[in-house]
Symmetry: C2
Subunit: 338 residues, 2 copies
């Protein structure tokens, strides 16, 4: 493996000059550039990033830590991050915490050891310990998708409360009065906010929210399946379901199909986030869409901004995107006609 010194020797210049040519920094003559570039090609020289980063204290690498890498919402978000990062010359490392705070801390430690320049983090269980760990090493971090109450940190997320409010309002306007809310774990801000928006919409309409209609579980297909089964066994069966994410929607759909409950005739079903095009040949679900790609881009821009100005300590941004309600078939028609 040739080093920069081998290149320098072959080109008849100092190592530092080779470094300048490679990084296109400082001064060098065009004649020198040619000789250096020739030597690089002849030797098949590839710079050693490790040494470069060790010396310059910059790895040009960002870390993206997600809670569920199989969920298309997060992969779309990841594409937004990736595009913004690579456009700025940064490499991205993905990791999947699987909604486990322990895995999350483990990854944060590994990534700190790798000296990543910055973090984009969807906090597992909305815990703050990982963020504090990162902060203690003065590494910039932007939190994605979820709020972290009482912490001065940049956050890019969506208006979950508002989205749930609108979806619930829609169901109410269609005549539904008994609506189940299938949400994620308590403590996860998106799950909490979606329940809150649901509650507010009911209260606005003068309906007292029945605690039994509010179910909490995992943000997975299995979670949705189980919660929907529970909902079907309630003394008063709901006429509509609000699912807190796409996987819960799918799981609920499966449970309903197995129980012979038709959507939307027997049960309206609305949720958050689409499934990717490859999985949905025929769009069916009424959803509150979150601009995942844009969220990823925006968060990365903020992080890169922090990196450039090295201003970690001062004021922090919270960017909240609105959700977009897409009405499709699964919400059904007005049930007052029944």
């Amino acid at each position: 493996m040739p080093t920069i010194h081998d290149v320098a020797k072959r080109a008849g210049v100092g190592s530092i000059t080779v470094s300048r040519v490679i990084n296109n920094s400082g001064y060098f003559s065009s004649d020198t550039r040619d000789r250096v570039e020739k030597a690089i090609v002849e030797l098949g020289y590839v710079p050693n990033t490790l040494a470069r980063s060790l010396r310059s204290k910059r790895t040009n690498t960002l870390a993206l830590l997600l809670t569920d890498i199989t969920n298309p919402f997060f992969t779309t978000l990841a594409r937004g991050v990736e595009d913004a990062a690579s456009a700025a010359g940064y490499t991205l490392i993905f990791c999947n915490s699987d909604e486990s705070a322990i895995k999350e801390s483990t990854y944060v430690t590994i990534l700190l050891q790798k000296q990543v320049d910055g973090f984009l983090l969807v906090p597992a269980q909305s815990k703050t310990s990982a963020i504090e760990l990162i902060r203690s090493r003065d590494v910039p971090v932007v939190v994605l998708d979820r709020a972290v109450p009482g912490m001065a940190v940049d956050v890019v997320r969506c208006d979950s409360e508002g989205g749930a409010h609108q979806l619930t309002q829609l169901l109410i306007s269609l005549g539904h009065r008994c609506i189940a809310s299938l949400s994620g774990p308590e403590g996860v801000s998106t799950a909490d906010d979606r329940v809150a928006g649901y509650r507010r919409a009911l209260q606005d309409a003068g309906i007292t929210p029945d605690a039994g209609l509010i179910l909490r579980g995992e943000l997975t297909q299995d979670g949705g399946y189980q919660m929907a089964q529970q909902a079907l066994q309630l003394p008063q069966r709901p006429t509509a379901i609000l699912a807190a994410n796409n996987f819960i929607t799918i799981g609920a759909m499966r449970a309903l199909q197995e129980a012979g409950v038709q959507v939307p005739q027997d049960m309206a079903l609305v949720g958050f986030d689409d499934l990717p095009p490859a999985m949905v040949t025929f769009p069916f679900f009424t959803v509150a869409l979150q601009p995942a790609y844009e969220m990823g881009r925006k968060a990365t821009e903020i992080l890169l901004q922090r990196l450039k100005s090295r201003s970690i300590n001062n004021s922090h941004k919270e960017v909240i995107f609105p959700t977009q309600i897409i009405v499709r078939r699964s919400s059904g028609d007005s049930i007052s006609q029944r």
Copy 2:
């Protein structure tokens, strides 16, 4: 950011001793260990991987270069790689070449700069230039999923020819005589092999393969959609379709649905690889299943073996897994009854 020297000073030992404790190598007393570990915790010390790797010339990192990270076949394969790699204490870096030889070379260069210890590679377009680039730097590489003819390299792949042969045989046994083959780009070994298996099955049955029934396109949903539309416009419309991968199957399905062609009543449809559980609530497609997870594991084991023995030059393995035919509804019943 405290360094190993800060830890050493605080613990009252030499840096080298701290290194020994951290890596649990060489000799040190239990008393020393305690003092060092205490100092590490007090300072919040995190070792710098860059410096470690620069000196030791090992990064404990493997690279996995795929052609389509959105395809569940490859993500399942990636999980197999990830599990095997992390069990052996290696970190994994994923990259997506998007079936572009240029992106592939770009990533290989970046990954070489990052000094990865080894490569797992699905060659884009089955090109060999990237493999040669890796080889020229004496970095071990295992090729996945696709054959690279005339190159002495470890390969882990599936018996595509055999799988296609069996699927075609199945269709023939159901009475089909006019079968379309929708495959991937020419030059991609899996796509070529699947056409070859299809051809052989027809010849075995005494059917002369009609060149017009053999369509080639992208290994994507769009590719499948377009090829299926072409197939429907052939002078003699086929009664069955063999799709070369899962995305082609989905795309073809969409084209058939739009054209009002019922599967399996009007058209049998079989393919390769499942969609992931989250997308397939009701399994429908008859497929040749490739053991993606096992393939990833096996390839990683071979790579780790090479890393341990540092024997790159000598004999190379080619591991070929069989496909498993899963008969479901999309292949339909025997059409001789019609």
